[in-house]
C-alpha cells in the first residue's frame, strides 16, 4: 500500500468515526439507573427484565457497595462520584445492601424476558 493509499484509508476511518451515531452500536442499551445520595438509595425498588443492565450512581462523598444479600450474586464497590453496572441475568426478587453501611437496603425485581 502506497503512502497516499494509507492516508486515504486513515482519513476514511476518521470520517466514519466522526459521523453522528457511528459509535451507537458500540454503546449498550440504556441502563436502568439507581442513585445513592445522602445515604439513601433511590428508588428503593426497581423492576427490570432479565438481561437488562442496572447502574448505581454514587453521589455521596463516601464509598458504597451494592451487594446482593443472600448469595452475593453481585458485590461491587462504588467510589464517591463514580458508578457501577451489573447485568441482571437471572429472574427473581433480590434484596441488596451496602456492605459498609448495612442500614442501606433496597430491592431489584428481575422479570423473565418478554414479561412486564
Amino acid at each position: 500500500m502506497t503512502r497516499k493509499a494509507v492516508w486515504r484509508a486513515l482519513f476514511g476511518v476518521i470520517a466514519w468515526a466522526m459521523m453522528p451515531g457511528a459509535t451507537a452500536s458500540a454503546v449498550p442499551a440504556a441502563a436502568k439507573q439507581i442513585t445513592i445520595g445522602a445515604m439513601s438509595i433511590v428508588p428503593l425498588q426497581l423492576t427490570v427484565k432479565a438481561g437488562e443492565t442496572v447502574e448505581w450512581i454514587n453521589k455521596d462523598v463516601v464509598d458504597h457497595t451494592t451487594t446482593e444479600k443472600n448469595a452475593k450474586i453481585w458485590n461491587v464497590s462504588i467510589a464517591p462520584g463514580k458508578s457501577a453496572t451489573v447485568v441482571m441475568k437471572k429472574a427473581g426478587s433480590f434484596e441488596y445492601y451496602c456492605r459498609y453501611h448495612p442500614n442501606m437496603v433496597a430491592r431489584i425485581v428481575v422479570t423473565a424476558p418478554g414479561r412486564k
Binding site: A38, M39, V62, D63, Y100, H101, N103
Partner: protein, 173 residues
C-alpha cells in the same frame, strides 16, 4: 474482660451526656465543632486500630471509619467555610475528646483478639452516643438548613457504622 470493656464503653456514654444536657440548645458553631470532633476522634481510633490489629475484618472496618469520617469532615469544613461559621469549642466536644483519649489509652494496652473486641465494642458505644446526640440534640438545635441536612446525612452514615460495627463484632466473636 468483657464486663470491663462494657464498663469503659458505658462510662464514656454517661460522661458525655451531662455535658450535652447542660448545653441542651447548642448554636450552629458549637454543633459544627461537636460533629467535627466526633468524626476526627473516630479517625484517630481507626488509625490506632490499623496500627495494632491484624484481623482483616477489623482492618476493613477501621479503614472504612478513617475514610468515611475524613470525607464527611472535609465536607463539614467546606460547609462551615461557605457559611462563614467558625466552629466553637464547647463542653460536649471537650467531654467527647477526653473520653476518647481515655479509651485510646486503654486500648493501647491491649493486643490481638482482646484489642479487636475492645475496639469494636468501643466503636458500637461511641456511635450510639453520637447518634443519640445527633438525633435528640444536634439536629433539632441546628438552625441553618444546610447544616441540618449535613447532620441528617451524617446520622444515617453513623447509624450504618453502628450496624456495621455490630456485624463485625458478631463475625469476630
Amino acid at each position: 474482660m468483657r464486663v470491663r470493656l462494657g464498663l469503659i464503653a458505658g462510662a464514656a456514654c454517661v460522661a458525655v451526656m451531662p455535658a450535652m444536657a447542660q448545653h441542651s440548645k447548642p448554636n450552629d458553631a458549637q454543633i459544627a465543632h461537636i460533629a467535627y470532633t466526633a468524626g476526627a476522634l473516630d479517625v484517630e481510633a481507626g488509625k490506632q486500630a490499623l496500627a495494632i490489629t491484624r484481623n482483616p475484618e477489623i482492618r476493613e472496618f477501621a479503614e472504612q471509619m478513617v475514610r468515611d469520617h475524613s470525607a464527611v469532615n472535609e465536607q463539614a469544613l467546606a460547609l462551615v467555610k461557605k457559611l462563614k461559621v467558625t466552629p466553637e469549642d464547647n463542653a460536649t466536644s471537650k467531654a467527647l475528646a477526653a473520653q476518647a483519649a481515655a479509651r485510646r489509652a486503654e486500648l493501647a494496652r491491649l493486643s490481638g483478639a482482646a484489642f479487636d473486641k475492645a475496639y469494636v465494642a468501643n466503636e458500637i458505644a461511641f456511635h450510639k452516643t453520637v447518634n443519640g446526640a445527633l438525633e435528640t440534640t444536634l439536629i433539632p438545635s441546628a438552625s441553618n438548613p444546610e447544616l441540618k441536612s449535613l447532620l441528617q446525612a451524617g446520622l444515617k452514615l453513623f447509624e450504618g457504622h453502628q450496624l456495621h460495627a455490630e456485624h463485625t463484632a458478631k463475625a469476630t466473636n
